[in-house]
């Protein structure tokens, strides 16, 4: 899936030890959570969105610690 802000593929961030996470454009949030739901991926979405200056808002999706980040990445990559 392509990030509509950066025009690059959306990537699962795996740094750190508290579980992978995604930073996604807010306008794509619903589409991505629907995709995660369809594959029964467990996640939580931050209550707030972030916007810097005039840039579009982004949302943070936190995946569970046990989540297979590679599997989620493949899931995202499967969507054009």
């Amino acid at each position: 899936m392509i990030d509509v802000i950066t025009h690059k593929p959306i990537e699962v961030s795996t740094d750190g030890g508290a579980g992978p996470y995604l930073i996604v454009p807010f306008e794509q949030l619903h589409k991505i959570t629907a995709l995660l739901d369809s594959d029964r991926v467990s996640y939580s979405v931050d209550e707030e969105v972030l916007s810097v200056g005039d840039e579009p808002e982004v949302a943070f999706i936190n995946l569970d610690e046990e989540t297979d980040a590679m599997r989620v990445q493949r899931l995202l990559d499967s969507v054009p």
Partner: protein, 235 residues
Amino acid sequence: MAMVDDLQDLANRTLAALDASHDYFTYTKRVWRLLQKLVKGGEKLNFRNDATGTKVNERTLAGRGQIYVSVYLMSSTFQHLVSLFEDFFFDLLRMWLAAYPHSLSRKQLEFGTVLKASDKAAIVLAVVDKELNELKYEGLADWFSYLDRLVKLGCPTADEIERLAEIKASRDILVHNKGIANAAYVTKAGSRARFQDGAKLRVPERYHRESWETIKKVVGDVSAAAIAKAPPSQP
């Protein structure tokens, strides 16, 4: 200061501290999110902690931000919210018992404590503090039963007490059992238990928010009811 004023002051301080704690949680989290977004956008940086000798670049720090927010920040601010509630509850009981100590008439005190006391008020407070120190080791539902025997406030609801009991049980697990739920947690949390014995206890953001809301509502309701029952200020 009259008791009504003391109670109002306690309520104001507690409610303000609850808001300040939630602000700290929210804005600290947002700063970490900002950093993670900047790193995603290509920002480069290097930090070093002279005390531990660790060095981090932007990617390491962004990753640490994830654990700092979802584990450390979430857990520490949750514990702080519970501490604020406990301080409020026992400060309120202390005020009430100091003003109406007759329920403690049959309590005993070492004579040495009496000899050291400067006046009768100091003796009363010594008995009150002894009583409350014992109450602290009982369950949260017992705290409210105790308060109810002292003064019928009509709040919080049974549902709110159950929620608070689970919140307090979660806090106890984080502080005393390395975050692993045990049989004591299951017993204390009762029907509201979120985890089974042996499971890793989590503090999701929504639960963190709901806990803050529950505590704030109970502090507001209990203090308002106590103020309504307390003797008015003298002109």
